[in-house]
Symmetry: C2
Subunit: 412 residues, 2 copies
C-alpha cells in the first residue's frame, strides 16, 4: 500500500516555515503499514495542486494533503479539491456551530469568512477538527483515498490520530512494515561498512539496510516492507545476532530511539537524577530532555549560564578560574558540571562551554571549540570537541556530543 | 527562474529525520531571485530518482538534489546521476587527497569505500566539500543545471553558500524576489481579513498576499516574484502605508523577523538585559535567544527549574507558596520571574510554569495550563494561557506566548 504526502503553502517553498507535518504523517503511515513513496511541497496554486493530485493518484492509493484550508483568500485547497472531484459546496450546520463556539471562547464574532469555513464539498466525508476551525475532508475515487487536512501542526496531528488512521485501518487491509535499528559506536561509517560487507551482501532482498551516521555513532537500520511482521522480526533479530559476532565491541543498543530517549529511559529505570549547566548550547540540552514526557522524574534543574556572573553566582565557578583559564576551558566546564551537581544534589551533571560564533574565536580557541563536562559521584572530567563553524551547527553538535557522552557514561 | 529541490533518502520518507535541508536551500534560492516551484522527497531508488529528474527538468532550470552520496551501498545518487547524464566515473586525485586528510585527522584508514567517494562523473564540475568526504557535483544539460549535494546539513549548507550560489549568480541573469512582512497583533485572522478585504481586492496581480497566523499575532506577507526590486519595494511600502490607516492600532512591526529576533534586536538596541526562568518550557525559551548571534549581550542567565527544589533553591520561590498555590500558579510564575531578575540583576525576566502533560493535569488545572510571568523594574505580573493538549504543542505555544508577551512589554 503506497501513499503520497502533499504539503501546500508558499511559506514552505520560500523557506519561511519548516515542514514538520510531512514527518508526522510519514511516521503515522509507516507505523500502520503504509509506505510513503513520495513527499511533495507545492505552492497555493490551483494548476499545481491539480497536476500533483493527478500524479499522486497514479501511483498511490492514499494521498494526504495538508494546508491551504484557512479562512482567507490565499487558501485555495478546498475549492480546488471540490472542483477536482466534480462536487459542489454545501453549508454544514454542525461544523458552523463548532466554529461559532470556538470563536465565542476567544470573544470573536462569527463572520462571512468563518461561514466559508463551514462550507464543505458534497462528495466528501467531513473529518471533524475539534482543535480548530477548518474541518478535514476525505474523498474517495477509483479505489483511492484523498485526505485534506489543515496545515496547523497540532490540528493536523489530532486529525491524523483520531480520524485518519482509524478510518484507513478500516478501509484497507494493511500489511506490516518493520524497521529495526541497531546503534553502533566507536567505529567510522566506512570502516563499519567494510567490516560487515559480507553480512550485508547476504541480506535477503526484501530486507533493506541503511546507514545513519550521527556524532559518535552510526545507526544501522533494517527495513522490511509489506511483510508478515512476526516472521520478519525473528529474521531481523537473527541477522542482528550474527552482526554481534562481527562487531562485538561496537554495539550500544537496539532501540529505534534517539540518544536522549535512551538516556531518558536509563535514568528513569535506574532512578538516577540529572542536572544540566549550559553555556554555548543555551538551553537546547535541557529542552531535549524536557521534550520527553516523564523528564520531571530525573531532571532536577538546568542552568543556562551565559554570562560569567551567572557561571560564578549560580554554579559557583570561581571567577579566578574564569580569568586564568577563560570561560571556554576544561577547568570551567568541570566546575560548571560539578556546580550543577552540587546545587541540585543530582547523581549526574553535564555542562557545555564553547564559542558558538560568529565572533569570539581566537587562534588557540577558534569558533566551534566546545568543552563538555561530566560530573558523577565518582569523578568529574571534561572533553574538548570541535563542533564546526556555523552557530546553529555548533549548538546542535555540542548538544549531540554532550548527550552521547552522558549516554556512554551511563553505559560504562 | 524556477527551481526544484529534491531530497533523497528513505529516512525522510519513513519520518526518521526531519528534512531541514529543503528549507535552507529554499531560503538561499529565494534570496537570490530564484523561485522554488516544488520540493520533493523520494527514496534511495534509481527509478524514482530518474523519473523525478525528468519531471524537475521539464519545469525548472535549476534542480538541487541532496542526499544519497555516502560511502555505503544504500547511497546510489552518484551512480544514478552518472548514468542519467551518460557519463562515466573517474578517480579525482584532489578529492582523494582531501578525503585521506580528513580521515587521517580522525585516525581512520582510507579504504576501498573512501576510494569510491573520490570517484566523480567525467561530465560534472566537482564542487569541493571542505567539511566532508562527499564532493558536490554540478551537471549542465540543455540550458538547465542539476546540482547534487551531500545530505549532511552543515556540509550541504557550506556548499550552497560557498559554491552553489556564487556559481548560479554567475551562470544566470537573476531577477529579484521581494518578500516583505507586516506583523499585526490583537486581531483574529478572520476579522483582520474582513477589515482589509477591499485593500486586498485592490492589490496588483503581481503582488501576492499571505496570512501567517501565530500565537498572539498574524503576519501579512506581500510577495513579488521576478521583478525590479527597487520599484516593487516602493510599491509595497505604499501598500503597507495605506494598510496602516485601516488597522492603525494593530501593527507591531514591519520586519520579516520572528518575534524572538524582534526582542533580540530591541534588547541590544536599548542595552537592556534579560533572564529566563523556565519550568514547562524546559529550556526552549532560552534556546530561542541563544540561537541568535549576539545573545550574550543581553541574556544573563536561564534557569530550567523543573523541580520544586530548584524553583526554591535557585530562584528563591517560597516553598510555602508552592505548597499553598501549587507549582503551576500565578504566585509561583511571578516569584520565578522576580527570582530570575534578582539573581541575575537583569532588566527583564520571563518565566513559565505549566502542565505539559500527558499526566499531571486536574480539573482546575488541566494539561495545557501555563502561567507566564514577567518581571521588570516597574512591575511583576503573570498571565494564564491554555496552550493545548499535546506536550510538544504545549511547550511550543507556551514559548511563543512568553516571547510575544515580552515583545509586547518591550513595546508598551
Amino acid at each position: 500500500m503506497k501513499a503520497t504526502i502533499v504539503t501546500i503553502g508558499d511559506e514552505i517553498l520560500i523557506g519561511q516555515i519548516l515542514d514538520t507535518n510531512s514527518r508526522y504523517i510519514s511516521r503515522a503511515l509507516n507505523a500502520n503499514g503504509i509506505t510513503v513513496c513520495e513527499r511533495t511541497s507545492i505552492g497555493d496554486d490551483r494548476t499545481q495542486i491539480i497536476e500533483t493530485l493527478d500524479r499522486a493518484l497514479a501511483e498511490s492509493q492514499v494521498v494526504i494533503i495538508t494546508g491551504g484550508l484557512g479562512p482567507t483568500k490565499d487558501d485555495i485547497t478546498k475549492h480546488t479539491l471540490c472542483d477536482y472531484f466534480g462536487s459542489t459546496l454545501r453549508y454544514d450546520e454542525v461544523e458552523a456551530e463548532h466554529i461559532r463556539k470556538m470563536l465565542e471562547a476567544r470573544n470573536i464574532a462569527f463572520n462571512e469568512l468563518n461561514r466559508g469555513q463551514a462550507m464543505v464539498p458534497e462528495s466528501c466525508t467531513v473529518l471533524h477538527n475539534s482543535h480548530g476551525t477548518a474541518p478535514g475532508m476525505w474523498f474517495e475515487q477509483g479505489g483511492s483515498v484523498v485526505i485534506s487536512l489543515p496545515g496547523v501542526p497540532f490540528e493536523m496531528q489530532n486529525l491524523i490520530d483520531d480520524e485518519v488512521m482509524p478510518r484507513l485501518r478500516e478501509r484497507f487491509t494493511l500489511r506490516e512494515i518493520v524497521h529495526r535499528t541497531m546503534i553502533t559506536f566507536g567505529i567510522a561509517e566506512s570502516i563499519l561498512a567494510e567490516r560487515i560487507a559480507s553480512w550485508e551482501e547476504a541480506l535477503p532482498d526484501y530486507i533493506r539496510l541503511a546507514y545513519l551516521p550521527a556524532p559518535n555513532m552510526v545507526r544501522l537500520r533494517l527495513s522490511a516492507y509489506e511483510v508478515e511482521g512476526k516472521e520478519v522480526c525473528r529474521e531481523i533479530d537473527a541477522l542482528f545476532d550474527s552482526l554481534r559476532t562481527i562487531i562485538p565491541d561496537n554495539i550500544a543498543g537496539f532501540e529505534d530511539a534517539s540518544v536522549e530517549e535512551l538516556v531518558h529511559n536509563t535514568l528513569i529505570e535506574r532512578g538516577k537524577t540529572l542536572a544540566v549547566a549550559e553555556s554555548c548550547t543555551g538551553g537546547v540540552i535541557a529542552s531535549k530532555f524536557t521534550a520527553q514526557a516523564g523528564a520531571s522524574a530525573y531532571l532536577l534543574c538546568g542552568v543556562v549560564a551565559y554570562s560569567n556572573e551567572a557561571k560564578s553566582k549560580i554554579l559557583g565557578v570561581k571567577m579566578s578560574d574564569i580569568t586564568q583559564y577563560g570561560a571556554v576551558s576544561e577547568q570551567v566546564a568541570m566546575a560548571m558540571a560539578q556546580g550543577a551537581k552540587d546545587i541540585s544534589g543530582s547523581d549526574f551533571a553535564i555542562s557545555t562551554t564553547g564559542i558558538a560564533g560568529p565572533t569570539g574565536g581566537s587562534e588557540a580557541k577558534p569558533v566551534g571549540t566546545v568543552w563538555i563536562g561530566i560530573a558523577t559521584s565518582n569523578h568529574c572530567f571534561a572533553v574538548r570537541k570541535n563542533c564546526g563553524t556555523d552557530r546553529s551547527q555548533i549548538i546542535a553538535r555540542a548538544t549531540a556530543y554532550a548527550i552521547a557522552m552522558l549516554h556512554e557514561e551511563l553505559n560504562r
